[in-house]
């Protein structure tokens, strides 16, 4: 891994015409800056489109009413908001404890080879396309039965698990060993040491991972399309039936030819994007704070 700086013998052509070198340098700098500007511009354009087009269709009724019958004006996405909330909540109840335990296993119990193998499995899991996860859960829970909120939640939990577990592994590794040793030296049992010393110290980072996982799956569409999309328009709190969700609703509305549906799609997108970006920003600030604390 050595830097390949050519030997100065014979003197490289590079360091001769100074004006040209400066010009090349300058244009590369400008190109890099433009690239960064382009990325920010795309973010601004996408989010800006959603805000501008979403605000005009968004009102309180949109949040509290169920969808209007086909062709009728008005209506809202209350059923999808409740559905997304339930789906993500159940997914979190499944994925967060398991992810946390995987992190504990890696930092407190597992031998390095074992924890590397688990980390590898998690990396593979996070590389599986979410639509394939949807197909998997369809084959496991839906085929031969019916779609259900539970099936959708399990699919979301599988997508969430690697995010939560990997961040738990990283964060718990940052907890200083001196704290663990101090606790053990005081005669505290290991499991108490983990629950009372290690987890509280790393709480900020652990919450960050969980929030990032929630933000990620709240916007997932593909797995829900296969597992929990054929739902009634009524508000339902019953996860044994298919639940509607904001992403699937946006997807359906975006494929509709009616301009009124597009307006609804933008408004639903605004609701989703505000939620997801708020969660991401929150996770980010938490992350910064906990990192600074752990680094002392």
């Amino acid at each position: 891994m050595s830097a390949t700086i050519e030997s100065p013998n014979p003197p490289p052509k590079l360091f001769t015409t100074s004006a040209r070198r400066k010009r090349v340098n300058r244009s590369m700098e400008v190109l890099s800056t433009l690239a960064a500007g382009l990325a920010v511009a795309v973010l601004v354009i996408v989010v800006g489109s959603v805000v501008i087009k979403g605000v005009s269709a968004l009102n309180l009724d949109f949040l509290t009413e169920t969808p209007a019958p086909f062709g009728a004006p008005g209506g809202g996405i209350a059923n999808s908001i409740v559905g997304t909330f339930l789906l993500v909540a159940i997914a979190s109840v499944i994925a967060v404890p398991i992810g946390l335990l995987i992190g504990i296993h890696a930092s407190e119990f597992a031998r390095p080879r074992v924890s590397n193998a688990v980390r590898f499995a998690l990396d593979i899991l996070s590389g599986v396309p979410t639509i394939v996860t949807g197909v998997f859960i369809f084959g496991l829970l839906v085929a031969g039965h019916v779609q259900s909120g539970y099936a959708g939640s399990v699919a979301l939990a599988i997508i969430m698990l690697p995010i939560v577990a990997r961040s738990a592994q990283e964060v718990l590794r940052l907890v200083p060993n001196s704290l663990r040793e101090a606790a053990v030296a005081l005669g505290v049992a290991r499991w108490r040491m983990v629950l009372r010393v290690v987890l509280p110290t790393a709480a900020g980072g652990l919450i960050t991972g969980a929030v990032l996982g929630v933000a990620r799956v709240a916007g997932e569409t593909a797995p829900l399309l296969l597992t929990s999309s054929i739902a009634s328009n009524a508000v339902s709190w019953n996860p044994t039936q298919a639940l509607s969700s904001i992403p699937v609703t946006i997807f359906t509305l975006s494929e509709s030819p009616a301009p009124a549906d597009h307006a609804r799609g933008w408004a639903a997108a605004l609701v989703l994007i505000v939620g997801v970006l708020a969660l991401s920003v929150f996770a980010r600030s938490l992350h910064e704070r906990s990192r600074r604390r752990l680094r002392g």
């Binding site: 891994m1 830097a3 700086i5 100065p8 360091f15 340098n25 590369m28 890099s32 800056t33 433009l34 990325a39 920010v40 795309v42 973010l43 489109s49 959603v50 404890p97 398991i98 992810g99 995987i102 296993h105 119990f109 597992a110 590898f120 998690l122 990396d123 899991l125 590389g127 599986v128 396309p129 639509i131 394939v132 996860t133 949807g134 197909v135 998997f136 084959g139 085929a143 599988i158 698990l161 690697p162 577990a165 961040s167 290991r190 499991w191 108490r192 990620r216 916007g219 997932e220 569409t221 593909a222 399309l225 992403p247 946006i250 997807f251 975006s254 799609g265 997801v276 991401s280 980010r284």
Partner: protein
Amino acid sequence: MSAAAPSATPPRGTLATVRRNIVDRIGDPSLRVLAGAASVVAVFVILLLAYKVFDGSSSAFSKFGLGFLTSKIWNPVTNQFGAASFIYGTLVSSAIAMLFAGPLSIAIALYLTELAPRRVRRPVATLVDLLAAIPSVIIGLWGILVMAPFMVNQLEPALHSVLGWIPLFGGSPSPFGLLPAALVLTIMAVPIVSAITREVFETVPSDLKEAAYALGATRWEMTRMVILPIARPGIVGASILGLGRALGEAIAVTQVIGGAVSIHASLFQPADTLASRIASQFQSASGTVYISSLFYLAAILLVISLIVNIGARLIVRRGIPAKVMN
């Protein structure tokens, strides 16, 4: 315990200690077992996933065999299915996306590590990262309603009039097709690739950079001779990870690619990918062979993305500190 200690102190303390010991005797192994079980679950899920996807595709596999991979026919009426056009669409749309996203991400990472003033660095990096947080369905919505009209009215006519002699840009402009899909995938891949590339760039030792400057190199020369060679495995790995993301994206692609079973040289024409075919057809699919063929598509996609992801991680891991990967 000295003998002088009066037994006036009730044995409460010792009783609590005994109880505590019993709880500890249960607590310690249970935490260990629970934590180990959770890790086993992670491994088990990936194995079960692979098994279920392959198991579901078995009846399509027994009917079509490996010929499924090369057949272009997708006809639910005659129950004839093949994946060739979707494999083509997947590979071409992702390849074009990486052609855009790779250089863009390197440039963004360079800007953020070498050029940006300290005050701008953090906010810009945060904004690029937030691009990754936008749900794909919203990028797809934007793709259909904002980008597609722009494609068909402005960009594609312009490309066609200048580069129309190349078959890639031949044919009449259309709002849905491979090019819009590739652009949407670029938007989704850039934040991932640039974030990893940036972290890799930050690991380049500053004494090597300073040595290049001391020899009179300009910033670009330093980048080309020091940063890029050292970071090459990281850049390649990051790009392949981005490729993995692009290959598997279903929703945003479904919204803009047009869903056509065809292999066309022109990037303007509607096409379809493995992931978006599954997403768009699963709800309406009926019949064993039809559903099983969709499972077969999922199995192909799973194999491709596993190869890509494992490959990327192996490449990046060489020479890059583990903390960069996640």
